[in-house]
Amino acid sequence: MKTRVISDDLLRGGREASLTRWKEHRGRYVDWCTVGFCILGALLVGITVLAIASMASAELANPAHLLEVATSSEVVGSILLTFAAGANAVLLLALFGTPLAYVLARARPSRFKGVVESIVDIPLILPHTVAGLLVYLLFMRRGWLGAPLSDIGLAFEDAYPGTVVAMLFVASPFYVNTVREGFEKVPVHLENVARTLGAGTFTTFRTVTLPLSLRHIYSGAVLAWGRAIGEFAGVVMIAYYPFIISTLIYYSFTTDGIQTSRSIGFAVILVSFGVFYLLRRMTRFVGRYDDRV
């Protein structure tokens, strides 16, 4: 905290003023623990900044190439496809994951609940290739679910539904766990009161629990979406085509070489950063009542 105050002063004030302020601060108590933590933390942030900087310096040296690659229909289409598939997965998660999260939040601790919780977390602990295999084996043309579904015309192998289902699988724990945390924060007393006032279970959920958990649902959705659009190994096993962005970058890296893949990568960084910044900014308009619960 203290270091921030100092640097703010240095940046804001005139040079002279800041110098005297700097002197005023000297000799004051310095919290070395916080300073140490800040230095260690800065190293971690530094790696990310350095990596992006090294990529940016190369890309910004040749903006024409960057622009050409970034605006090619292949890249634009792939980014849109990835974002759409991610959003699609999140929609499905909202539909199926929200009820699950609620049940987990309200169920009393039991062995069965523990088992369900572990199953929900499985995608978190598996190597992504294993997750991909699991999805592939279940949804491939001869898979337990893939076979009957392909009979009614829903094919997963190398198709959009395959991408969505793989994203859904790997992103589900992020959504379910975050939303569940939100539901747990809503006091049961509020629900009890609503019930005695005449609201049924679903009305109570809709009018009390859900509005008070909106912030968690929103951040769960953003987290899950971020996780979904970043997936590679899980998706590539069942749906190599159509190219999602990570597959496209990998393909380009192995065939066209480093220059093209780097340009695509940089374009993705810019777009993702922009989108996530916007999504985060929007959080402040969602479910402000959470804090008062």
Partner: protein, 351 residues
């Protein structure tokens, strides 16, 4: 109105054991007991929020053990008020009407009179997070009353309020009970509230209903030593009956003899309960007074308008005087005094 028939229920560390009780229409029923005794669980069981492991709950003579809370006509107010933070005061109060299908404008108009009555009209568009404890409590009560319940359940509604607000709220509750003819069940561990409001009292200790009945009886003639200690009988003495003449027993307790109205026979071990305001205190030693006990003041504790005076006269007895008279008598530790207790003021617990 409400009847529990041997209800047992376990909920984490709280439990009810074989509780049978009857709450009549129009009763102001107090459920008292130490913290963690299962009082709130009992309230929630009446509301239908927990289903009992065994036993039956009857409402208006019909079994409702499996009826969901929204169909019981019972409103609940928690100690923490539990206002919906995402709704304004007006929306909170009209919530019950809204979920019954009333339109927003209609519901708002419907509760306007109620807000007026509880003195919260000026808060109608505020959110609960911005209200004081007393205001929140009023909103919670108005919200519960808005659905016109037959039974109002209150879970320690006064414990989080400052003394001045408490007084006002007790007045509100008393009026509500009198004017609406509501059946009110209130959980409390405050003796004062119980004395002020209750018509009937049930005492729960460790999940069991250990005493139940008219407030006057439970508070002044408790059934067991445990209950006596809980309802705040100041003087509880163990003794033995030495003689009994026509229902007036002489009891020896710690070297002092007391007369009490009881059927207990000579030789029987009994517990004596004497309320502090039944102990008469006079300064000085007055050998002429029959059955008077001489002793010395041990301590004088002023508590609002009254003073509790502890006197050592072989046994320690507590007497209560107005603060004014305690000062007029200039009682200090060591002052010699004489105590006397009427035989009819001594309640005897047998066995």
């Amino acid at each position: 109105m409400i009847a529990f028939d041997r209800v047992s229920l376990t909920l984490g560390s709280f439990s009810l054991k074989d509780v049978s009780l009857t709450i009549g229409k129009g009763d102001y029923y107090f459920v008292v007991g130490p913290s963690g005794a299962g009082k709130t669980v009992l309230l929630e069981a009446i509301a239908g929020l927990h289903s009992p492991g065994s036993g039956r709950i009857l409402l208006r003579g019909e079994e409702i053990t499996a009826l969901p809370p929204e169909r019981r006509g019972v409103a609940l107010v928690y100690q923490d008020y539990s206002l919906f933070p995402n709704m304004t005061v007006s929306e909170n109060v009209s919530y019950g009407l809204r979920v019954r299908g009333m339109r927003k404008g209609e519901a708002r108009a419907g509760v306007a009179g109620l807000l007026e009555r509880f003195g919260i009209s000026h808060l109608a568009d505020r959110y609960p997070g911005t209200l004081s404890g007393g205001e929140q409590q009023r909103v919670a009560l108005a919200r519960a009353v808005a659905v016109k319940p037959e039974i109002l359940l209150l879970d320690e509604p006064l414990s989080a309020l400052d003394p001045v607000t408490q007084e006002k709220f007790i007045e509100d509750l008393r009026r509500l009970h009198r004017e609406e003819g509501l059946t009110i069940v209130q959980v409390s561990h405050s003796r004062r509230e119980t004395h002020l409001l209750a018509t009937r009292v049930g005492v729960i200790i460790d999940g069991s209903l250990v005493d139940e009945g008219e407030a006057e009886v439970v508070l002044n003639r408790p059934r067991s030593r445990e209950v006596a200690a809980f309802v705040g009988v100041e003087n509880i003495l163990d003794g033995t009956v030495t003689a009994n003449e026509n229902g007036v027993a002489t009891v020896d307790a710690g070297g002092r003899t007391f007369e009490a109205v009881t059927e207990a026979a000579a030789g029987e071990a009994v517990t004596l309960c004497i309320r502090a305001d039944d102990v008469a205190l006079a300064v000085g030693t007055d050998p002429s007074a029959r059955k008077a006990m001489a002793g010395r003041v041990v301590s004088v504790v002023e508590n609002g308008p009254v003073a509790e005076v502890k006197v050592d006269c072989g046994v320690i007895l507590t007497a209560v005087l107005t603060r004014r008279s305690a000062r007029d008598l200039s009682l200090v530790p060591g002052t010699p005094v004489t105590l006397s207790v009427r035989a009819t003021a001594v309640h005897v617990i047998r066995g």
